[in-house]
């Protein structure tokens, strides 16, 4: 019973993790940048969902329709204005730039929205239904899980099936060669960052109804996103999805069968174990010469 309960809630929470991890993976794959602003981009998504709900009365899940394009544009511009300028600089500078941008975003949010956490309470915020004897399933989590699956599928189709998707992959492997294929790599890079941002914001919006909204709220997801990225294989969409689900389940099970304060340790140990035994990640391709 307990097992089933924690498995289900872990799996559902894992869905949101997956989305966060996917955005990170996207940026990592194409730009080879560990995006330390990822958590803060999630935070923006949370606030967007919050204001859409409180000011415009739009349901947070519905507001994705607005948030995704908005966040995409924001990420696109962010890349064009800042990151693009250091794209040829040493890698550490790019990381640092994202750290700096993250600082700016979270602290601007602190000034603009104060440090009071906001709670997005919808009619279904704490509603759940019982499936099997005593096992409850949270309605908002289930909704966000379904939406995550949808987004994942779309993204996968986009990357493997469309020209832009192909261009993204090509750029991630060799910028110069991609350029010679007629790909506008600086546009593609901006698109990649835009998608990464959109995914982060979507993850933020999806978690908003079951979480709280705070300028620093994204930070607890940053490390998770990294972990998921490596677990699944850098740059792999399917990998990130599975990685997210695994993390969700592992967290839930270890908090029941071990203890809640050690569950993060379990996750990080798992992460190291993957590095030790399968460094390319669960879904990474092994080809480097």
């Amino acid at each position: 019973m307990l097992f089933l309960q924690s498995l289900i809630s872990g799996l559902l929470t894992g869905g949101v993790y997956a989305l966060a991890g996917m955005g990170m993976s996207m940026v990592f794959g194409v730009m080879n940048v560990s995006n330390f602003a990822h958590g803060d981009l999630m935070m923006l998504g949370m606030y967007l969902a919050y204001f859409a709900f409180t000011l415009l009365n739009i349901d947070p899940y519905l507001s994705l329709v607005l948030i995704i394009p908005l966040a995409f544009m924001f990420g696109y511009v962010l890349e064009k204005v800042f990151i693009n300028r250091v794209i040829h600089h040493p890698h550490q500078n790019q990381i640092l730039l994202t750290i700096g941008l993250g600082l700016i975003m979270s602290n601007s949010a602190l000034l603009a929205f104060t440090s009071d956490p906001r709670i997005l309470t919808t009619s279904y915020s704490s509603s759940s239904f019982t499936v099997f004897r005593d096992v409850s399933v949270s309605v908002p989590l289930l909704l966000s899980f379904i939406i995550t699956c949808g987004i994942t599928a779309l993204l996968y189709l986009f990357l493997s099936g469309t020209r832009t998707g192909m261009a993204l992959r090509a750029t991630s492997q060799n910028r110069e060669a991609a350029q010679l294929m007629g790909i506008n790599v600086s546009r593609i890079t901006a698109i990649a960052f835009g998608i990464g941002t959109a995914l982060a914001a979507a993850a933020g919006a999806l978690i908003a109804p079951t979480y709280y909204i705070h300028p620093l709220a994204g930070h607890s997801f940053l490390l998770k996103a990294f972990t998921i990225c490596v677990l699944g294989g850098l740059g792999s969409v399917v990998g990130a999805t599975v990685g997210g689900l695994i993390i969700g389940v592992v967290e839930a099970l270890s908090s029941v069968y071990l203890s809640s304060d050690w569950k993060d340790v379990v996750v990080f140990v798992l992460f190291l174990a993957v590095l030790l035994f399968r460094p390319q990640g669960l879904f990474g391709k092994k080809g480097d010469q």
Partner: protein
């Protein structure tokens, strides 16, 4: 070469004399201690991050290992602080070895990410155990050491200064040895390095060990200085990032870069924190404290200092891609 040696000697003498010049000013001395501390941490990081090109995002773990070892040895076993320091070196070396043995076979970002994971494991473990003080941290009322007055700042100033000199000395020495060349070769191309008889894992581990041990000593001194530690203060990811930031903004892979980085960032952060600008404007009388502009400078800026710090970071990266040292070099 000669010129540099003379300049360094001059710097050291100046640094030794500095406390005499500023007299009994604990506030300024305290900031100088922080400056020396960050400079040492960034320089120690630089050995593995700058020269060997292995970006560690987890140096807080080594710092914390030093700090915690010292505090635990002192408060539980009542030992001499030096014993704590030695324990710290051992513990941080062990952490470094574990990290190294897991990821040093791999290329690319893995080390960076794994170092975060290891540091988080260390942090959470300390947080969850009892003898480490857990979430409550460890408070120490009084320490006696060699009859020094540890309530005064000067012992710590000189302690941190010696750490910095040793760290820079080691860096300067390494640069002129086989190990230094090998580390750079590894940074540039691992496969090529291996084909030139370089035992990659060995040298990476060596660099990490040296770096970790130095970092741990700084942690020990810091613990004695502040006498209260908890996981947020000494094991947080933010500390690791601050170290990295200092090194990069100064100039990674250079001898003096990390020191320059600290010399810029530490006073800057303190100035922003204590809102020197807003204060001065009100004090001089340019704006009144009750006017909207005055409120902005006095209140708004006080709230926004981390934001300003972030903006300065971004500007540094955009306009000083090679760090401050790069700028100075270009100026020549």
């Amino acid at each position: 070469m000669m010129k540099q040696a003379i300049a360094s000697a001059f710097l050291v003498v100046a640094a030794i004399a500095l406390p005499l010049l500023i007299g009994d000013n604990p506030y300024v001395t305290g900031i100088l201690i922080t400056l020396l501390m960050m400079a040492t941490l960034a320089s120690a990081w630089n050995i593995v991050g700058g020269y060997a090109g292995q970006f560690s995002f987890g140096h807080a773990a080594y710092f914390g290992a030093g700090a915690y070892s010292t505090m635990i040895m002192l408060s539980v076993f009542n030992t001499n602080p030096l014993v704590g320091m030695a324990t710290g070196i051992v513990v941080s070396s062990l952490i470094a070895l574990v990290t190294g043995s897991i990821v040093f076979r791999l290329k690319g970002h893995y080390f960076a990410l794994a170092s975060i994971a290891v540091a988080e494991i260390v942090r959470l473990t300390v947080l969850n155990l009892d003898f480490t003080g857990g979430a409550q941290g460890i408070l120490l009322s009084d320490v006696a050491f060699l009859g020094l007055d540890l309530n005064s700042k000067n012992p710590f100033y000189y302690g941190m200064l010696s750490c910095l000199v040793v760290t820079l000395g080691i860096t300067a020495y390494l640069r002129r040895t086989r190990t230094g060349y090998y580390l750079q070769a590894i940074r540039e191309d691992q496969d090529a390095a291996a084909s030139l008889a370089i035992n990659i894992a060995y040298y990476k581990n060596k660099a990490l060990l040296i770096s970790a041990a130095l970092t741990s000593v700084v942690g020990s001194i810091y613990a004695l200085y502040i006498r209260f530690i908890d996981t947020t203060a000494v094991l947080d990811l933010r500390l690791s990032i601050e170290i990295l930031l200092t090194a990069i903004i100064g100039g990674v892979g250079t001898l003096w870069g990390p020191l320059l980085g600290a010399a810029l960032l530490v006073p800057l952060a303190e100035m922003l924190r204590s809102n020197v600008l807003g204060d001065a404007m009100v004090r001089i009388g340019i704006v009144s404290e009750t006017s909207p502009i005055g409120m902005f400078f006095k209140d708004g800026l006080a709230h926004a200092h981390v934001l300003v710090y972030g903006i300065i970071t971004v500007l540094c990266i955009l306009y000083l891609p090679k760090g401050i040292l790069g700028l100075l070099r270009r100026g020549k």
